[in-house]
Structure formats: structure tokens, C-alpha cells
Subunit: 391 residues, 2 copies
Amino acid sequence: MKKVAVMGCGIVGTGIVEILTDKKDDIAKKLGEEIELKYVLEKRDCSGEKFADKVIDDINIILSDSEVSIVAECIGGIGIAYEFIKSCLLAGKSVVTCNKHLVAEKGLELLAIAREKGVSFVFEASVGGGIPILRPLTNCLAGNRINEVFGIINGTTNYILTQMAQCGQSFEEALADAQRLGYAEADPTADVEGIDACRKICILADLSFGHNIPPAAVKTQGITCVSGIDSAFAEAFACSIKLLGRTVRDEKGMVTTFVAPHFVPKNALLANVNGVMNAVVVRGDSVGECLFYGAGAGRYPTASAMVGDIIDCVRHSDGCLYIDWGGEHRELQADSDEFVSRWYVRFKGDAAKPQQSIEEEKAVITEPMSAYKMRSAFGEENILSAFRVLD
Amino acid sequence: MKKVAVMGCGIVGTGIVEILTDKKDDIAKKLGEEIELKYVLEKRDCSGEKFADKVIDDINIILSDSEVSIVAECIGGIGIAYEFIKSCLLAGKSVVTCNKHLVAEKGLELLAIAREKGVSFVFEASVGGGIPILRPLTNCLAGNRINEVFGIINGTTNYILTQMAQCGQSFEEALADAQRLGYAEADPTADVEGIDACRKICILADLSFGHNIPPAAVKTQGITCVSGIDSAFAEAFACSIKLLGRTVRDEKGMVTTFVAPHFVPKNALLANVNGVMNAVVVRGDSVGECLFYGAGAGRYPTASAMVGDIIDCVRHSDGCLYIDWGGEHRELQADSDEFVSRWYVRFKGDAAKPQQSIEEEKAVITEPMSAYKMRSAFGEENILSAFRVLD
């Protein structure tokens, strides 16, 4: 029997509590061992909740209880969550989290502490919500040299882009819809500016290539620059516009990581991933291309991934889950503007011969070139919008 | 340092040998421990091969060498492969295999031996080739009640169906092409009659629902019944024809498992999985719908999955990888003809009002109903072809 504490009992925390309680017998059958929820650390009044008898408001009760071997963190942010996780690991407890902000910024440090203490620090839910992606990437595909990982890793922006493409909504209308439906927060900055996607692609890069890539080093463009006319051109070029996080390693080991809207040809599966759904593509030298698709957020999908992590911690309770995530190597981080791809360019003047025209607007898909070359070829002053094409 | 033996060195075995040799340092870095290939069991002449110094032709050398802790089986079939695997497990060695025939027929027995001996018996490559699917299903999604698993799990038939749909080829032409390209064997029976897909859906069902479903209990229809006119009607109904393995559990725990061609609406990702590619969809109560896509066969994809298994065995060398796969429960196996779905029916006479007509042929998509009801509604003598529609 393993005992678990949940820290923070909002949307996701409640989901974990429910799954661990309602499926206790099922999980014991699958695992060959019982998991018991012992504490729920939460400051708000939980007296009406089913789990009210487990609620505590002092982290020290968890830290000093040697029966608790696994802690699930659902507080969010990198303030108190960071302090609490660090304390738990130092107290010899394994920690499970969905906190991508924290993992992207502090993962390297926290993994080192976990390794030193012989416990696990795992975070499957931090990328792609409920989609199993980090464990397949680090375990099942461990015999591969990973060459590239990219995907739709933010559901809010994918919902907005889908609405713009399928219903002809403007960015503002689609955002308002997303907020009304609970897919976007009152302050949507982290989503629409690509900050959330940036954290997730950093985690994917760290795990794929084994050295730390901090979010601050990653060029990040959101979707506020995508207009209705770009959406119409995408259709004309048989593409869908998708916000992609990408991380690519070349033969010399140089890693290019960036977040930007892309034109994705409609014959690619990724172009057909719509609404709030997420999908991640992994390109490995042996396996070729794999794609992992599912719900990237939400109470139960996220809780599903965290419970999977808890179960894995129980399976490995005699040692830590080893994850190869080394220190930063700036000399291996390439300038993303050097990265060569085809481009969709909407332009004014006579900068190029248009391939498509819509109501006096002109656009082309270029030959493969770097961002520098594309900007000088058209002249910065002539470029109305420019997005990479996914190949 | 862990030592490994490879049994059978044909297409896939050679791939494993290559990966373990060429990526030795990479794998050691990811794993924190070295893996060394010690033996290759193979009867053919390997004197020109790089690994010639490791070739042996007597299984007893492996069985009696206590240094060898993991054995990869690439012999195929359920004759000698079964005997060798059993001997290895009984000798306290973990075994990795891609042999779906063997896993579907003998998995229950071999897992029980592995558990008793405290070693692992793993077979990620037996379903979906290189695609990580079994481990995500049993580990990452362990907090879910799995309700349904279905997918395109045979690349040969998917290639043939894709050619029929996209190039207007007949079944015979497409099969001949597949044979020429090495996608289909000289005797294509196991693929085109759905036997291979049947073995794989059984493995998925066993792992999803925790009790054994033998291939003989699964109603299996291949693709020889799909004609060019069905392919044309699929297009008219905005669907793609895909051979699906499906296993569904209802609220009472009754499991329906079958293999049959389906009409898949084109807005589903699965409809866009073409050529030899595979994809598996998992529906869990917490995570919702997940999809896993990639190469379902081939030397390096399959070897990639087997090397991932070998690495996982090393990680778990102090105990077995626990897989919950119990005995057969016939009382939980439902008659698949009772399973309710919409149907595409191509018919003659006045059995129904046609929704689409192509050159005097008539077809409809029905309301949801069982196979029994569908057959009696149209009259068996009027049905030219009938395939389920995926919802």
C-alpha cells in the first residue's frame, strides 16, 4: 500500500482525488498494489467535499509523515509550488506535477535533487495534457536518435485558429468565444502570445536532446498576427494555419527551437487536428514519424496523466525514474532565423509574382530559405505577413 | 552493464543488432548503464556480417550463460520461438518479442511464467510496429477505465485500400503492387483475410480489459470483399474504407471484439491514415480519445520498439514489468453481430430507398442497428455488401 498526498485541490487536483477514490480497486488490480489518498493540502474551505476529512493546510504534515511516499502538485506557478516540490523531494518523496511553467524553468534543478535523493520527479501532464507523450518519447523511443519534435501544444490557440478557418470568425470574435466556453482565461496573454507553447516545446526539447533549453532562449511568436485574410489564403493554398512549437536537431547536434504559426498542408494529419485538441509529432531515425493526439487540457485528461505518473512512481518505488536532462549548452542552440523552410508571404507592391490573390491582396509560397533571406528577398517594408510552411 | 542475446537475425533481428551496436554510447547516456550484445542465435551463414563473432547456433549457450539477462526473439511463428522463449523465461531471463502470433496465442501463459520467475515478458512491437501503444495503454493511461480501442493495425491492407481509393486500382492490382513493393507476402492470406489484425486486436483487448480473448473467438472479416464500387460509394458518402480491429467494453463489462472493413468519415483523423501507416485510437473515461500513429512494420520501426523494450527491461531488472492479463472469461465475450452501429449497405431490388446511386448500383447509410437487424431489414439475398460506419 502506497500513500499519496495531493497539493492544491482546484480543477485538476479534484480530478486526481476523484480518480484515486472512485477507481481504487481497478488501480490496485492493474498495479498489484493499493494506492491510498492520505492528504489534500488546500487552503480554501472544503468542508462540503467528500474528501473533507483528508484536508490539511500545513505542508509540514506531509513533509514529516514518512507514510506519504508520493505527492501530486496542482498548485501552479513557480512560487510556492516550487518551494513545496523542492521540500517534498528533499524529504525523500516522489513528486508528480502538471506544472509546465515550473518544469520548463526548474526541471533541471528538481530532477537533480530527485536523483540525489533516489526518488522520482515526473511530469507527463505538463505537455499535451492527457496525451501520453513524454514517457513514450523517453522510454519506448529510447533506441532512436530524435531528429525533430513539433506539434500543436496549446489548445486555446488551436481553438481560435480553427474557428477563424472554419467559421470565418475574426481573432477577437474567436477569442471571445474561447473565453465564454472556458477555453481561454480572462488574461489570454500566455496562450495567444505563445508563452505556454514555448514552455512545452522547451520540455520536449530538454527530454529529446538531453540538454537544458530555457524558455528565454526560444524565439516565440503567438497568433495575434494571424488575420482573417491569412486564413483565407491558407485555404487557397490547401493548408491549415497551426501554432506549432518545434525543436529540430541537425547532424552536427545544433538544436533550433521556436514557436510560430505555420501553414500546414491539409494532407498532413496535423492539419486535421482541430478545436482544443493537441498533437505532437516525433521524428526518430529508426521509427520514422510518430504522432500522438488527444486532449491537451481539462480536469480529467490532465488528472488521467497525473494518476498514470503516480502509478509509475509506485512501480519504481525502489528507485528513481531516470530521465536524461543535462545542463544548458548555449553553443548547441542555433539561431532560429537561420532555419530553412518554405514560407507563405503576403506582401504589397511588386516584391514577387503572386501565386494567389484575394481581394487585391497577394501571396506566395516561396522556395526553402532562412528567415533572413526571406526578409531581404521581399524587403521588410513589403511583408504584410510571413509564416513558415511545414514540410 | 547488461548483456543481451538476439534470437533470429533476419530483417528485424539485424535492425536490433545495428541499433544496439551503433548507438551503444547514446543508449548508455540515456539509460545510465551500458547494454552489450553478447550473442546472435542464427542458423544461416553470417560469416560476412559485422556481428559474425557473436553468432551461435545453440540456444543452450544462451540458457546456461548467467551473464545474459535479456533475450530478444525475432524468429517468428509459434513453434520453436515458443519453446525458446519459454526456456529463456524459465532460465530467469527477460524476453522481448515482436511476434504477435505468439503473443496473441501464448501471451497469458508466458506472462504467468515471467511473473513467477520475477522477470519481464514484453512485446511493444507486436502491435503497431514502432508506434508506442502498449506501454502508453498499460502505464500512462492506467488511471482510465478503457471503453474502446480500435485502429488500423495492418499496413498491407491499408496500402491496398488506399490504392483502391486514391488510384482507382482493383483489389488484385493493388495487391500485386503491394507484393512488388515488399508490403505483402507471396501468400497474402494472413493480411488480406484480417488474421494478422485479429491477433493484434486480441493483444490490445487483453491488455485493455485484463482478461484473455483468444483469436479463435473473434469474428474476422478481411478486405477481399471490398470492391471498386464500394470504394466509389465511400467517396460519395465522404468516407474512407479502412480495415479496423475493434474491441469495445460496455457498462456491464461485456467485451465485443471484431475485425472488419469500416466506412470512416473523412473528418476523423483515422480516415486520413494512408498507405502502410498504422494508427490506434484509445477511448478512456478520463482522457477521452487518444490516437497513436506511425509505421506499423519494417526493420527499423520494429527494431526501435524492441530496443525500447530492452531498455525498459534493464530499468526494471530488479523485478518484472507487471502486466495485468488474466484468464479467459467467456461469459464476458459478446456476440459481435449484436453490436449496434450505422451501416453502409449496397443492395439490389427495392430493399430501401437509395441515398446514393452509381451506375445503377444503389447504396444507403442506415440508422444504428445490429448486424442481425440490418440483414433482416434488407433481406440477405438483396445485400451486395455491408460495412459498419465508424462513429
